[in-house]
């Protein structure tokens, strides 16, 4: 019983499935389908909600999601490549969500422009990460001993 929320969602889903199976009128085969559908929906929703509340409460820490590690391995400044990848991921996800909600079905095909947009964004992040890693490695190698990499985060604010 380590994770109370998980067990609560599981018991809730099973309870709803039982309620549909016993008290809801209708043909048995349709009732089974409905019970599975609603049970699945409840489990998926509560799992998503649990993750969301954990992020909101700080139990899942995402405060460094935009930060680039410094050469010395400490906290660095915010990364522009991570930020733009986050923005484009959200924009495409939100667009897909709006389309599915409005049409009631998944789009037949994802246009190549969308994939290009995400591709440009993700490639920039990967290349930026490569440049940063190469630069950090070289700077650490050339840094005089005892300087700790000479790496300080930029001024805040």
């Amino acid at each position: 019983m380590k994770n109370k929320e998980f067990w609560a969602s599981l018991i809730g889903a099973v309870a709803i499935a039982f309620v549909i199976a016993i008290w809801v009128p209708g043909e048995p085969d349709k009732k089974v389908v409905h019970a599975i559908e609603y049970g699945g929906l409840i489990i998926t929703f509560l799992m998503g909600f649990m993750i969301l509340t954990a992020i909101a409460s700080g139990k899942i820490d995402i405060s460094r999601i935009l930060e680039e590690k410094s050469a010395a391995g400490g906290t660095g400044s915010a990364s522009m490549s991570r930020f733009q990848l986050l923005i484009f991921t959200f924009v495409i996800a939100l667009s897909l969500f709006l389309i599915v909600v409005n049409t009631g079905k998944f789009p037949d095909k994802i246009p190549p422009e969308v994939l290009t947009l995400l591709g440009i964004s993700a490639t920039t992040y990967a290349v930026s990460k490569g440049i940063q890693a190469g630069s950090d490695q070289n700077q650490t190698r050339h840094e005089p001993p005892g300087n700790g990499g000479g790496d300080r985060p930029p001024p805040r604010g």
Binding site: E37, T44, F45, G48, F49, L52, I55, A56, I62, S63, R64, L66, E67, G76, S77, A78, S79, M80, F83, Q84, L86, I87, F90, V91, L94, S95, L96, F97, L98, I99, V101, T103, G104, I110, P111, E113, T116, L117, I120, T123, T124, V127, S128, I131, Q132, G134, S135, N138, Q139, H142, E143, P144, G150, D151, R152, P153, P154, P155, R156, G157
Partner: protein
């Protein structure tokens, strides 16, 4: 059932977007130094304002706003993105990466010079 699925998805996805936006606005997710570049100079490490980051930030926000406005206007299909927009975005990212590579290269050069100077 479809309405219930939409409601559940709206709560979870809307909540996720709102949580991340809230954390960025309250500075729990820090954006400090996002427009600044750090270089190794001959005297040590210094930070300076980066125009390449500013142009990437502007391009990203403009493209994202344009795309979202198109989707909100017609939420039945993915909007078509003009090739010129994609080229512009690609060029902007290229400029950013070029600036970053130049900064990294000059940092390595300065670090090497500093080390040689110290060895002498």
């Amino acid at each position: 059932m479809t309405r219930l699925v939409c409601l559940a998805a709206t709560i979870v996805f809307g909540g996720l977007f709102a949580t991340i936006a809230w954390k960025i606005l309250t500075r729990e997710i820090s954006l400090d130094g996002i427009l600044w570049v750090k270089r190794q100079s001959l005297s040590g490490s210094d930070t300076s304002f980066s125009p390449t980051r500013v142009q990437l930030m502007a391009t990203t926000l403009i493209t994202a706003t344009y795309y979202l406005s198109q989707v909100v206007h017609d939420p039945t299909r993915f909007p078509s993105v003009p090739t010129s927009w994609l080229l512009g975005l690609g060029a902007s990212h290229g400029i950013y990466l070029g600036g970053k590579a130049e900064s990294a290269f000059s940092s390595i050069q300065n670090a090497t010079r500093r080390r040689r100077k110290n060895e002498k």
